[in-house]
């Protein structure tokens, strides 16, 4: 059995350019936290074209708002009327439903694509809060819907939404003979439009987004050992960034996108280096006989937060990028590793090992408090949404690797179930520019 599993396969690696549209690889269910969500009425959008509308834009918006855990869209069967524009709205009717806000809109064909109009109302004040008219290609219609969700979310909460973003993650599918196929996947944040950026018979690890959301750095074993690659998602072009002797791992882009923090063991043991992406020159950041790995940048680009076992077991430390003293950040728990820093720099998420359980915890840097957000046993790879509200991570449910997300206050829990195989190492994209 051992041998069976370990027989190496001749590498068959291919870059996929096919994007199966409109299919969700990840099904998202909210497992906890619907209580206290604010009701909102999202009326099915009018369609001014022939036949069926190309996408249920209102349905996508309602699902986004529901997924945030902060809103509870009402069932459209409860609506007395289904207005599509401002002239038909009877506010006193809507007031009876108990939702403070109403969204209406239309989709109409325009040129080769569509124009989407929407309005968000305050039902009690009987005023329009926002209203936009947005041109969209057919292929971008789901993105346009997510973009509208972001605008609604920001108008109602005061914080930017992160619906029009993407998730990169790694899947592993084992066939009946025990052979594995690994894929680096990129999907919309609601699990739709999954696309394989890379397929391989060898492991793929540690995907990291460039700050412009256009490229991924990752570790691939396609040549039998870990090497770091950089791939442009639109053109599929890629280059090998690092193939030194020993480890090449844990890539992390600097916030300005000009440098890459990475881990190399070429000089003896795992150390963190900073690579200048313009000329690939390296500068060594850490010097210690212990393991130093899993670098993450603070949003100002001045500090690297990382994992080190210099104190005996793995804990979270930080060091100025320009050099200076190393400072320990995590003190609770016997195992703290794989830090992620929130976009405002205040929160550090990590994997916290405690009593044999590995769970996602956040350290609030403003007051030093550490809070465990999950109650699983094998969590890993926390990654913040770009608006800092949610953390996506990987865990084991039964014998399956799944992705889950939790709000930074621990109130809202979601599961993103991959239909086939194991999903892991999620990385939430920055805001798409």
């Amino acid at each position: 059995m051992l041998r069976n599993r370990l027989v190496y396969l001749t590498l068959s690696l291919c870059l996929m350019a096919v994007s199966p549209h409109g299919r969700a690889a990840l099904t998202i269910e909210i497992t906890q936290g619907i209580e206290g969500a604010q009701p909102i009425a999202v009326v099915p959008f009018g369609w001014d074209g022939p036949g069926q509308p190309p996408q249920d834009v209102a349905g996508i918006i309602a699902a986004d708002l529901k997924r945030s855990g902060q809103f509870a869209p009402l069932a459209s069967s409860d609506f007395i009327s289904q207005p599509h524009d401002n002239d038909k709205i009877q506010f006193h009717d809507w007031r009876l439903l108990g939702a403070p806000n109403l969204v209406v809109g239309t989709v109409r064909p325009e040129g080769m694509g569509y124009r989407v109009l929407f309005r968000l109302y305050d039902i009690y004040k009987e005023t329009q809060l926002i209203g936009y008219s947005i041109p969209s290609t057919a292929a971008e219609l789901r993105h346009t819907a997510h973009h509208i969700s972001d605008m609604i979310y920001e108008s109602l909460t005061g914080e930017p939404g992160a619906f029009d973003t993407r998730i990169a993650y790694v899947t592993q599918v084992r066939d009946a003979a025990g052979r594995s196929r690994y894929s680096l996947m990129v999907a919309d944040s609601d699990g739709y439009n999954p696309r394989a950026a890379l397929n391989s018979t060898q492991p793929i690890m540690s995907p990291a987004w460039s700050p412009d959301g256009k490229r991924l750095a990752y570790v691939s074993f396609e040549n039998g050992r870990p090497e770091i690659y950089l791939q442009d998602l639109a053109t599929q072009q890629r280059q090998r960034l690092s193939a030194y002797q020993g480890l090449n791992g844990a890539p992390a882009f600097s916030p300005d996108g000009t440098r890459l923090a990475l881990v190399l063991s070429k000089d003896g043991n795992p150390e963190i280096y900073i690579m200048d992406l313009a000329d690939r020159s390296l500068r060594r950041l850490t010097r210690n006989s212990a393991i130093d790995t899993e670098p993450a940048w603070t949003p100002d680009g001045k500090t690297i937060v990382f994992t080190s076992d210099r104190g005996g077991g793995p804990q979270i430390y930080q060091k100025p990028v320009r050099g200076g003293d190393v400072q320990r950040l995590s003190f609770e728990g016997e195992y703290n590793a794989r830090a992620a820093v929130s976009s405002n720099g205040q929160l550090v998420a990590m994997v916290d090992g405690h009593d044999g359980k590995y769970r996602i915890a956040v350290l609030d840097r403003s007051n030093g408090t550490m809070r465990v957000l999950t109650d699983n046993t094998l969590d890993e790879s926390p990654s913040f949404a770009p608006n800092g509200r949610m953390i996506i991570y990987a865990t084991q449910v039964g014998n399956k690797g799944v992705l889950e997300a939790v709000s930074v206050d621990g109130r809202i829990h979601q599961r993103l179930g991959e239909r086939t195989g194991d999903a892991r190492e999620p990385a939430w994209s920055p805001f798409i520019q």
Partner: protein, 186 residues
Amino acid sequence: MNVIVKATVVMLAAVMVVACSGQGANVKSPGASAPPAASGGPATPEGGESGGAQTSPVGGQGGMQGDELSNPNSPLQQRVVYFDFDKSDIKDQYKPVLKAHADYLASHPDIHVTLEGNTDERGTREYNMALGERRAKSVYQYLTLLGVSPSQLKIISYGEERPAALGHEESAWSKNRRVELDYGNQ
């Protein structure tokens, strides 16, 4: 997809086929190992104080090269050593096995072996990559201490990416915290 992109994909694919052609050599030797919890497959000495390691003559057969590696009764058939959680020190029970490999390698300077470090699934993946490498280095240092030339040894870590046993409990984890000695095809 435009022509340039298509051409790039084809070129990349070609590069990969070339890059892969060496991959076929990297096939595991048969009878790699038995996990510590198992009772031991046939002809796989446990390597403890049972004396299994001592009963087979090492290097005693003057025949063709490679005989000892393929001799099912040789302690060289045990090619996996196991570790405690988050640890990389060699446990006493595996020292006789590594001694047998060291003696063999020292007397066969043209033979090379890859030390493959692995971990269980707990904790984080890149930390486990580092831990797997540390375990492989620990075996490397032990073998070189016993006279093996560093030029005969190669190190690679797979972290938690290549578990020997699937499952999410200690019985699987104990089989995955390991270093494998891979002699390849030689």
